[in-house]
Symmetry: C2
Subunit: 219 residues, 2 copies
DNA sequence: CGCTAATCTAGAACAAGTTTCAGACTTGAT
DNA sequence: ATCAAGTCTGAAACTTGTTCTAGATTAGCG
């Protein structure tokens, strides 16, 4: 029968490729495959931390992670897939870190803003990495939808955590969506040098008001 | 002396190139140059209307607009510059069109939402073109900042128009910024098939509430 | 007109993402 | 232990954005 479990399937007609994503089960990976996957993600993050999006060159990632180019493409069917997966990976870390010290704010809006600013400060420490991940995320086309969705869910979870809201109302979920939109877009304007850190802060605080606007349901 | 006026200057050390933008004066173009520029933008929009971002191939744009590849790059120093310029062009049309029939809503929030939904419907008619323009816009790096900023200003103008607000307060300007963020990001999620049209509508309406939240200054 | 600097053209060349292929290697089942 | 199916490797090829070059053209000035 098969050897190492199938990692992904490729389509051959259109232009792009279908993908298989991150940790979420699907085809269980062998130990060596898991190790390869880790090496690749590590190399990706490392290269990104230097020169950002452009510095993540597939040939270099392959070399750094001691894997053939073809193998790299079997694990991640495009550079965008790779960087989005890298982002998933980093987001998990981040969520874990954020969980440890919950925000102090009085209102939900304050807590969410505080959490996002904390995340933002983390990104500031690795601006090139942030650049690579965010650019990939917004440049992703339909073929990467599942992975991008996963990132979105993770982000939503972080925000809901900060709200401390067990059963958010539909209205609140809308507010959270808008907050995510603002978060991504504000990051982009910052990364491309069109907005200052202070401006990002203001934008985040502004949008977070929407949370208080959508009154919490009486407990 | 010079022949046709200089179109743009290039830097040669770093990676990217410096750009010169759209209509805004700077180096006055001769008639033939203006014609070339128009042909290029037209070809760009036409190719984009077919297959979106990927279909805008520089060689094809050059051929379609009957201009040498080198000349194309003299006018638009990168594919991103070209598509952002295309967006500026389309936005001007759009603003003109929108101006003609001002929105009917009672509140400023309603009018802004109505205007954005009208713009959104226009984009739906050319989803591929929208894809190319929006992807370029969010993928643009620092070298395109001036052009992207110009697009942003144009968008802001459209929103302020819809608000019918002569002297917006700083708070309202913040709200407008957040609305723009949401607008861009919502467009992206729609274009990449991760959100429905209905969802975009909800997001826009949700964020527009921020306008009413930031009370207008007593006249 | 004739000059000169700048622009335009055609085409080759280069860079990085992606695909392809033949052969060596692993894996799990028999 | 053997084998069939699936993986990995190394290298070449292909695609498309970008750069470079040599020569033909054009614009404005004296």
């Amino acid at each position: 029968m098969p050897a190492e479990a199938k990692v992904s399937a490729k389509v051959n007609k259109p232009a792009k490729v279908e993908a298989r994503a991150a940790a979420p089960v699907s085809p269980p990976l062998t130990e060596r495959q898991e190790a390869r996957r880790r090496r690749i993600l590590h190399a990706s993050a490392q290269l990104a931390s230097r020169g950002g999006f452009d510095a993540v060159q597939m040939r270099e990632v392959a070399e750094s992670s001691r894997v053939a180019l073809g193998t790299l493409y079997r694990y991640f069917p495009s550079k965008i897939h790779l960087l989005v997966a890298t982002m998933q990976d980093q987001l998990e870390h981040m969520h874990g870190t954020l969980r440890k010290k919950p925000p102090q704010g009085e209102t939900a809006a304050e807590r969410v803003a505080e959490t996002l600013m904390r995340a933002f400060r983390a990104l500031q420490r690795e601006p090139h990495l942030a650049d690579a991940m965010v650019r990939a995320l917004t440049f992703a086309d339909r073929s990467v939808s599942p992975e991008v969705d996963q990132v979105s869910r993770q982000t939503t979870a972080i925000i809901l955590d900060a709200m401390g809201q067990e059963n958010p109302t539909p209205e609140q979920l809308s507010a959270v969506r808008v907050i995510e939109h603002t978060w991504h877009s504000a990051l982009i304007t910052w990364l491309s040098g069109r907005a200052s850190i202070a401006q990002v802060k203001i934008d985040i605080e502004t949008v977070c008001r929407l949370i208080d606007l959508t009154a919490p349901p009486a407990p």
